[in-house]
């Protein structure tokens, strides 16, 4: 049973056209995270929500934003995607400080 669900698995957008990636969870975890993973690199944390509190990493570009309307859902918004934003985007959840559970990611391509 998929517990952290990311849709779609593959997303194609045009250069500069806003795009939203979605993540949902059935674990009722209070923390949700977004990571960016480029080819042959390790995942890099963009930001996370602890309950409703948003925590942005210092080096996350302003182009990236997030919304968490409720416990189960979290969205990643890329306002004006550039070619360098092509990557796999991973959503993860955890119950407070427990180990994280990851979804299988959305691979974003920029035309």
């Amino acid at each position: 049973d998929a517990m952290v669900i990311q849709n779609p698995r593959y997303q194609v957008t045009q250069f500069g056209k806003p795009v939203t990636l979605s993540c949902s969870q059935t674990l009722n975890h209070n923390v949700m995270y977004w990571y960016q993973q480029k080819s042959s690199q390790a995942p890099k944390l963009l930001f996370h929500y602890y309950d409703k509190d948003f925590n942005n990493e210092a080096d996350t570009p302003d182009n990236f934003q997030s919304r968490r309307p409720n416990t189960s859902f979290c969205f990643l918004d890329i306002r004006s995607p550039g070619l360098g934003d092509a990557a796999m985007y991973l959503c993860a959840t955890s119950r407070s400080h427990q180990p994280q559970h990851f979804g299988d990611g959305t691979r974003l391509s920029i035309l």
Binding site: Y33, A42, P43, K44, L45, M88, H97, Q98, P99, F102
Partner: protein, 111 residues
């Protein structure tokens, strides 16, 4: 966060026991050691976490010597499906909010 050093890659054969060692010379008193596994086009998956001595679960064992400056992930009788990247992470419970992935070890299991 303590820095970790792992081999970039390892090769093994089906049925062998594989040991991946991670060095973390600057580990702090409150730090735990956590291993994640990542298959291509999937999110990382939590394998095991430990603080000292030995931890075993249904998929792996984690050996931690008394000085805790290194740890060894042991995979018994690997199969082709264990081919993946394995990440060693070190940090306290609070750092589970900010997973900092190193380069990881690409394990290739050959027939």
């Amino acid at each position: 966060l303590a820095k970790t050093t792992q081999p970039i890659s390892m090769d093994s054969y089906e049925g062998q026991e594989v040991n991946i060692t991670c060095s973390h010379n600057n580990i702090a008193t409150n730090d735990y050691i956590t291993w994640y596994q990542q298959f291509p086009s999937q999110g990382p998956r939590f394998i095991i976490q430990g603080y000292k001595t030995k931890v075993t679960n249904e998929v792996a064992s984690l050996f931690i010597p008394a000085d805790r400056k290194s740890s060894t992930l042991s995979l018994p009788r690997v199969s082709l499906s264990d081919t993946a990247v394995y990440y060693c992470l070190v940090g306290d419970e609070g750092s589970n909010y900010k997973l900092t992935f190193g380069k990881g070890t690409l394990l290739t299991v050959n027939p």
